[in-house]
């Protein structure tokens, strides 16, 4: 465990970057430091590997003051990932990743073998091994940065806005990849970002910092969204925190209707059997059970259903892995107001659900949250794709 104990960083010109900050960073989880620029989040991170020395206070790593060991020994035991990856332009991808093992005195072959293993782990094509950094895209370079930080298998990983410089699509890919890697490796990760969405998505614990180096709140993301400590945190979370909080409630409990689902080759009886009081629309699927689109029952002629004349059904959600937020999003985007649920592997329809049903589920989830004083243990620990 990393324990930051009333640490202050004051620069010679009198600016205080971090002000008596205390924080306990739990092992084998992602702790995100988030806040506006100038809040001292990067300074805090850089004090953990002594790139910045604190003016006051101590930082303990597993109970031992980090000042106790030589600075470079400390740093080699912590992976370090920075914003623009900071790759060595003159070295190949493989040799970039092998840097720390080489510094630790591993042989050349052993280091390179390890580097190859890491390339695979972070999702890099082995064919890139002999390339130079300038030949890679920003997202690939950042993967190399992560691989390089993991090369010597350090227990701690420090990440300073690692995904800020890449476009949103690539960023999402990198975030998902980090969560997957973390699931496999279970590192103690300290992650700095200015992006609250990234913080909520990645963090097991989130420390919101405010200008002047003060800690505003330290809590799991679900609690942060449901119970912001003060107006600053609330403001920083943004206007749609209610919607975002839904990311922490699984869609698995939604009651799905299967009656309003018919295959494209449905008979007249199947169509006629549909009870419009349940749902005014029918969802038509292809013979494999994949969703094609919505239609009103009277517009369907058995044996002559044309897929191109159906109303679009939008993006479906997967009840097992998606959250209420994703389900609600599907329902809102659908022209009929109904969301389509599919299974994870085949994309086959498992049922449909209306906005009303989702709204009831949301009310239910909130009520549950209130009963135990807004500290929903389940949702806080659980992380579902939002």
């Amino acid at each position: 465990m990393i324990r930051i104990d009333s640490v202050t960083k004051r620069y010679p010109d009198g600016t205080v970057a971090v002000d008596r900050l205390s924080l306990e960073i739990p092992d084998r989880s992602i702790t995100v430091l988030v806040g506006p620029s100038g809040c001292g989040k990067t300074t805090t991170l850089r004090m953990i590997n002594r790139m910045v020395e604190p003016s006051e206070g101590t930082i303990l790593l597993d109970g031992v003051d980090i000042q106790q060991q030589p600075v470079n020994t400390l740093r080699r035991s912590m992976g370090y990932v920075i914003q623009n990856a900071g790759l060595f332009q003159h070295r190949t991808i493989l040799d970039n990743i092998a840097t720390v093992p080489r510094m630790l005195g591993w042989g050349k072959e052993k280091s390179r073998a390890r580097a190859r293993e890491l390339m695979e782990r972070v999702g890099l094509d082995g064919a890139l091994a002999k390339r130079y950094p300038y030949q890679l895209s920003g997202g690939q370079q950042q993967r190399v940065g992560v691989a390089r930080a993991l090369a010597a298998d350090p227990p701690v990983l420090l990440m300073d806005e690692p995904f800020s410089a890449v476009d949103p699509v690539v960023r999402k890919g990198l975030q998902d990849e980090l969560l997957r890697i973390q699931e496999e490796l279970g590192k103690t990760i300290v992650f700095v970002t200015h992006d609250i969405d990234e913080a909520v998505k990645l963090g097991t614990m989130v420390a919101v910092m405010r200008t002047g180096g003060h800690l505003a709140q330290f809590a799991p993301p679900a609690e942060l969204l449901s119970h912001p400590a003060d107006a600053f945190v609330e403001d920083f979370l943004g206007a749609d925190r209610g919607i975002r909080r839904l990311s922490f409630f699984p869609a698995a409990g939604l009651e799905l209707l299967t009656a309003p689902v018919v295959p494209i080759d449905a008979t007249a009886e199947q169509i006629a059997a549909h009870d419009t009081t349940d749902a005014p629309y029918l969802l038509v699927t292809d013979p494999d059970g994949k969703p094609l689109g919505w239609s009103e029952p009277q517009d369907l002629t058995a044996g002559d259903i044309k897929a191109e004349e159906l109303l679009p059904c939008g993006r479906p959600f997967v009840p097992g892995t998606d959250s209420l937020r994703a389900a609600l999003d599907c329902a809102v985007l659908s022209p009929t107001g109904w969301a389509v649920a599919v299974d994870a592997d085949g994309g086959r329809v498992t049922g449909v659900v209306s906005q009303q049903t989702i709204a009831e589920a949301i009310r239910g989830a909130h009520a549950e949250g209130r009963e135990d004083d807004g500290r929903p243990e389940g949702p806080a620990d659980m992380k579902v794709a939002g």
Partner: protein, 222 residues
Amino acid sequence: MNLFHFISDFFSNGAHWQGYDGIPTRVGEHIQYTVQALGIAALIALPVGLVTGHYGRGGNALAFIAVAGRALPTFGLLVLMTLLVGFGMVNVMTPLVILAVPPILVTTYEAMQSVDPSPVDAARGMGMGEFGVLFQVEVPAALPLILSGLRSAAIQIVSTATIAAYVALGGLGRYIVDGLYQRNYEKVVGGATLVAGLALVTLAIFWAAGRFAVSPGVRRRA
């Protein structure tokens, strides 16, 4: 008689290819002066440039030294040195080294300053020592510029080493100085051609050194 006649006559004359005043001897002397002066200049300027560039301090002092060094008239210095210490290698080497130090010093400093700070930060954060940061991260990235400083210094020395002949030493300047004195323009032109040729060879050597020493990952940006 035009220029090309002078050149072909000079080089086709068998007598010019042998003896203590033959082309091989004079070229050898010229190369020797150049290598010596460049070596001494690099020995002074490279470490100073690398260290000041690495720590990012002393840029103003370097600029002052560079301006002062460039302001010193090479030929005047040669004459002054000869008056002070008499004839010999020292009074030739001194102006040549003073000529070569500023380009090496300033480009090395600039090269180190222009190194992208993020790999340097990453290297320190990974626990690389200062020595490693300097030689494994900064120098490889700065190498194309450092070599270009050495190259311009080398070419300046090649062209200027002709002055050695004024103080009774050898080198290709011998042909020019003696040719002018003897009104033997064939010799003057031949000597000048050799100096120009040697400058081109120097360029080629530095080009080859760049191909050999600079990583392909860095080279495309040079």
